[in-house]
Symmetry: C2
Subunit: 324 residues, 2 copies
Amino acid sequence: MAVMSSPPETTSYAADLDAVRAAAERIAPYAHRTPVLTSGAIDRVAGRRLWFKCENFQKIGAFKFRGATNCVLSLTDDEARRGVVTHSSGNHAQALALAARHRGITAHIVMPTTSPEVKCAAVREYGGVIHPCPPTLADRERVADVVLAETGGCFVHPYNDPRIIAGQGTCVLELLDEVPDLDAIIAPIGGGGLMSGTCIAARGVRPGIRLFAAEPAGADDAARSLAAGRLIPQTGPDTIADGLLTSLGDLTWPIVRDHVERVITVADDEIVAAMRLIMQRMKIVVEPSGAVSLAAALALAEPGVERLGVIVSGGNVDLDRLPW
Amino acid sequence: MAVMSSPPETTSYAADLDAVRAAAERIAPYAHRTPVLTSGAIDRVAGRRLWFKCENFQKIGAFKFRGATNCVLSLTDDEARRGVVTHSSGNHAQALALAARHRGITAHIVMPTTSPEVKCAAVREYGGVIHPCPPTLADRERVADVVLAETGGCFVHPYNDPRIIAGQGTCVLELLDEVPDLDAIIAPIGGGGLMSGTCIAARGVRPGIRLFAAEPAGADDAARSLAAGRLIPQTGPDTIADGLLTSLGDLTWPIVRDHVERVITVADDEIVAAMRLIMQRMKIVVEPSGAVSLAAALALAEPGVERLGVIVSGGNVDLDRLPW
């Protein structure tokens, strides 16, 4: 648990509340204000009241559209003209492709040749240009460097970027606008873009709010980092929550370190059970990574957390391969 | 197609707009005002703009809660005291159980011994008392008669009842309140409770609106009835849309006959494709019967239907047995 003896200096972080508010204004014409849903049945299971911020209803089916859009819209015309570049096979790829299309610029997406065709098709549908690469991180970075050199485009990291962090923070700004009197918020943590943005936004508008991170046990770098007090990169992740495999970044880590009270790790079977519970009871489709926060909320044994905000981060799941 | 030479006399029907409005007021403290969702991706597939009224988010996961609640709340205290009785293995059973619990009375549900345990558990969860019976309609009716005689309770038909018809009509009242300028509405048709309530409510507030019914080809009694101009009961239904197997009733049929412009029948593979499309694109869980209206909307080749309301009737699907 991170113990804060004195309030952290927010100005030293990659983003602050003003940046989140500016991002909210910037993305408003493009992003959905997603609904906040509740379920009496799940409340009874959880033993507390939960408010679900449903980013599975966000454009491209995940919160990633917020950060990508904020980033693309933050570029100067001169920067934007040469397009944006990233390497990703996940929601960030689709998010950047669609954000770029809204600005009328090209998104170059470096994707491993092993990516499922459905994910490539989604990127193409949003107008992204795919650059195939061998399926290693080194190859992804090498090919991305080539594309960057050829295009002069702007690299957009999926989470370790101030504009991304600020953009992801807009989600919780909306949640607290709709349900101001939450005791705590729980969000999934992978690279920490959503979690750090959540921290900045939530503590900005509600300094006393408690913040929890939800992490798969099979990719628990955040839990280990917080326990050790230093950033420990993730190696060999093994979890069904394929959106949460990455390590924290040097911009997201200090925010998480100073603001997250505890990381709750959950096993894959808890994640699958939470995913099923959401789909059965709330009638909404969530991906495993999107159900991690409910799994952790069900495992959370903190007194005083009566009213809990739960970020459902996305809903892009392969309906042919539901994990039960 | 039903040709109307003169406006039908609405007073001769089992329900009118006043009854629907009274029902809306009656059920408001208990029923959800369900969201109306849109999807740009599905609009592109459909070639028109669609507004989905999402009754999968209704209490018990289906519109049936509206009619059941209106019915239970319409009883006098003396009637209510002896409880309510029905035979059903579907959403009506759960709806009546929960509606009865809200009034603090007993719901007796006659259910075939072949009903899936998950459905029995749901009825029990809502406080319903289950009376098992052999799996034939004759047995269901016989056991229900016994229960009625023993309890003196009030029988609540799943659709052929003025209070049910008025209750189901509240759904479209909300839809037109939120999106007043629809050209047409399409709703699934089984026994006709939802469709007839939709007709009464929609024509009541928007006399010129066009009304379409969506029906599985494997249970097409409404299409055949409308073609013949007389009520033809359903025999031997064979469709995945298990909420739409029943015949029209003598109260629902005249309303359907006079107000529904056309019944669009869809094959099971179209229903499954629509169900998948909704889940993939809209991230909401729908049951096959709930996807029939989208399947029909995609098959609808009517000019002049630019803005179409689509009733998604329910979301109670077995997640272990998704039909693809």
